[in-house]
């Protein structure tokens, strides 16, 4: 990777080689340009950086620790470490970019934050940021996800956000993005769209990545302090790809680190049964940017499915698409079943209940550990699993009561 990687990618027009860009109607185009200009002018200023750093330390509780998994490593081999983003305030990495986006909104004089959410983690994080800064907050969420992720819906409401149910199409993340875009276009002067991942039109994939880089910067330093070396492998789950970009960004220049982005394999790799965009997608344009896309021959985005609502998206961050083509990151899949197994393994061996999204990364790391027991593996544990408890219990039961799969 070139030395000036972060200045070179994305390009001025928002491209990561052929991916990214801004394929948006003119109404959005002028608003994105304003956000882009504000981002460059404001987010590099001394005041912005010092306020964000103070927030991270005193409000979010950063740095989050890196933790060595004793029992898990004993059982599976390898030395397995977790970057504990589940301990970040609100219980996931999402607050890292939400506080950044909301601080930018404050500097721009915006009054209202609008976003979509899948599992509800981004919605909760944004509602938290809105409360912190005294801004209004409107979160669009598919009706299917509202039922599945009920605890997060309540959390958003307690935090003072308005949750708008989305009832068209499959009623999940993709439809929530459509609905949030429309709401934003109603009043782009007073509101700002705060996308939930490294997706969407330029400058969002860049902004969200930059705000998430803190994860990788901390983890690299902490891992080195603990072990005197860099990890052999770094593993993160990929839906849109924000937590993975956050941690990978620190290791892109380190040839000795293998990076693994893990996609949701769902029930199977047949169309409609999964959301493994990088594995099964082809280049296309959705929600204003070019990326690998799960789509049919007509160019319509395909239905997607994952046990983890936060990974349930037919597109993926453009930077990941570039890193795949450059073979800088390995992308692979984990099935629902493997994910649930890992969810219980981590809970029972370490006392840490992972989010179902993050459990995909854990599951893959356990496979790696068995293959290469002499190596060290750093997993980005992007969120905690409290939100998933009822769903997992009801659908899968406890391991000891579980019928055969």
């Amino acid at each position: 990777m070139p030395e000036n990687y972060f200045k070179k990618y994305p390009s001025k027009e928002g491209y990561f080689n052929e991916y990214g860009g801004a394929f948006i109607p003119p109404v959005l185009e002028s608003e994105m340009k304003k956000i882009n200009d504000a981002y460059y002018a404001i987010s590099k200023s001394h005041n912005f950086i010092s306020e964000l750093r103070s927030i991270r330390k005193h409000y979010q509780g950063r740095p989050t620790p890196v933790y060595y998994c004793n029992r898990l490593s004993d059982k599976y081999g390898a030395r397995i470490y977790l970057k504990r983003e589940d301990l970040n305030h609100t219980g996931a990495h999402k607050l890292n970019h939400c506080m950044g986006e909301a601080l930018l909104a404050k500097f721009m004089g915006k009054k209202k934050l609008i976003a979509e959410t899948g599992a509800g983690q981004h919605g909760v994080a944004l509602a938290t940021a809105a409360a912190y800064f005294g801004l209004e907050c409107e979160i669009h969420m598919g009706e299917v996800d509202i039922i599945k992720e009920h605890p997060n819906v309540v959390r958003m409401q307690i935090l003072g956000a308005t949750v708008v149910p989305v009832s068209h199409g499959l009623k999940t993340l993709k439809e929530a993005v459509d609905s949030a875009f429309l709401a934003y276009l109603e009043d782009p002067i007073n509101s700002i769209y705060c996308i939930g991942s490294v997706v969407g039109p330029h400058p969002f994939p860049m902004m969200v990545r930059d705000f998430q880089r803190v994860v990788g910067i901390e983890a690299k330093e902490q891992f080195f302090e603990m072990t005197g070396e860099l990890p052999d492998s770094v593993v993160a789950c990929v839906g849109g790809g924000s937590n993975a970009m956050g941690i990978f960004s620190a290791f892109l220049g380190d040839e000795e680190c293998e990076l693994y982005g893990i996609e949701p394999g769902g029930h199977s790799l047949d169309l409609g049964d999964h959301a493994a965009t990088m594995t099964k997608g082809t280049p296309g344009i959705i929600h204003g940017f070019k990326c690998y896309l799960l789509q049919d021959e007509k160019g319509e985005p395909s239905p997607v499915y994952s046990v983890a609502s936060g990974l349930d998206y037919p597109g993926v961050g453009p930077e990941h698409c570039m890193l795949k083509d450059l073979k800088k990151v390995n992308y692979d899949t984990i099935s629902d079943k493997e994910c649930i197994d890992a969810f219980y393994e981590l809970s029972r061996l370490e006392g840490i209940i992972p989010a179902l999204e993050s459990a995909h990364a854990v599951a893959y790391a356990l496979k790696l550990a068995q293959k290469e027991p002499q190596k060290s593996i750093l997993i980005n544990l992007s969120g905690r699993g409290d939100k998933d408890l009822d769903f997992v219990l009801e659908k899968y039961g406890l391991p000891e009561n579980r019928k055969n799969w």
């Binding site: 003119p26 608003e31 429309l182 896309l293 789509q295 160019g299 319509e300």
Partner: protein, 259 residues
């Protein structure tokens, strides 16, 4: 000569352009809707290619797009339906839709098909000017297709000039900072914007769209441009239970009646 240029050469005011979604309300309504619109004296027709994530469109057109997709509408199907359209229709026809289905069809093949069936122009709201100029312009031109650009109240003078330079048919003035079908009526703010654009001295003719839904809003738009585009209000009318010919004739009468 391209039919769009011919239209603007012969008619300078009160040009009425109507948008509808292909395959709505029924899959095979595409051609009958066009023919009824022509019968009722509409000047130009924009045929919408339905897409599941229409970021420039409001709830009405989003809804008609979903119905059309469920009906089995696709780009292939549309070209099929339009293959004999030039035997009965003379007015300019424009296809409007989003870029991904066009890319998946193949841009070259898409533009050739357009020429074969007699399409005069394209409106692709999510195709950026820079990408158009770099990758698409030559293909459009070979197939005698005008690319119609959208401008909004936020469009800067500099960009207006670039768009005017790149345009060859007409310029689509989006009336507000919003999606299609959002607002009823016209605000003073919009009139200030209409005024600014009409005094700008663009070489291309202009049509105003988004939020045009009645005789009054149509007349007001015509004071500032060569005519106006109606979409959501017509799609709403298509969704009612009347026979198709009555729906269309009633609607066009309501709009085009001089008050």
């Amino acid at each position: 000569m391209n039919r769009i240029n011919k239209l603007f050469q012969n008619k300078h005011e009160r040009i009425l352009s109507v948008y509808f979604t292909a395959g709505y309300p029924k899959l095979d309504d595409t051609v009958p809707v066009i023919q009824e619109l022509v019968k009722n004296g509409v000047d130009l027709i924009e045929i919408g290619m339905p897409f599941s994530d229409p970021v420039a469109d409001g709830p009405v057109i989003q809804g008609s797009s979903l119905v059309a997709l469920q009906n089995g509408m696709s780009v292939h199907k549309l070209f099929d339906q339009l293959k004999d359209i030039r035997q009965s229709v003379d007015i300019p026809l424009i296809l409007m839709g989003y870029i991904n289905p066009v890319i998946q069809f193949g841009v070259d093949a898409f533009c050739q098909k357009c020429r074969e069936v007699g399409i005069d122009g394209l409106i692709i709201p999510d195709l950026p000017l820079a990408v158009y100029e770099e990758e698409y312009k030559a293909i459009f031109e070979v197939n005698n297709l005008h690319n119609i650009f959208l401008i909004t109240p936020q469009t800067s003078d500099d960009r207006l000039r670039r768009i005017d330079e790149a345009s060859s048919g007409f310029i689509y003035m989006v009336s507000s900072n919003s999606t299609t079908g959002a607002k009823e009526g016209v605000t003073d703010f919009q009139n200030v914007y209409f005024e600014r654009i009409s005094k700008f001295g663009l070489k291309n003719p202009r049509l105003i769209g988004f939020g045009i839904s009645s005789a009054e809003t149509f007349r007001n738009a015509c004071n500032y441009a060569h005519g106006a585009i109606i979409g959501s209000a017509f799609v709403k009318a298509l969704g009612t239970d009347l026979p198709l010919n009555e729906k269309v004739s009633q609607f066009v009468k309501t709009i085009a009646t001089e008050v």
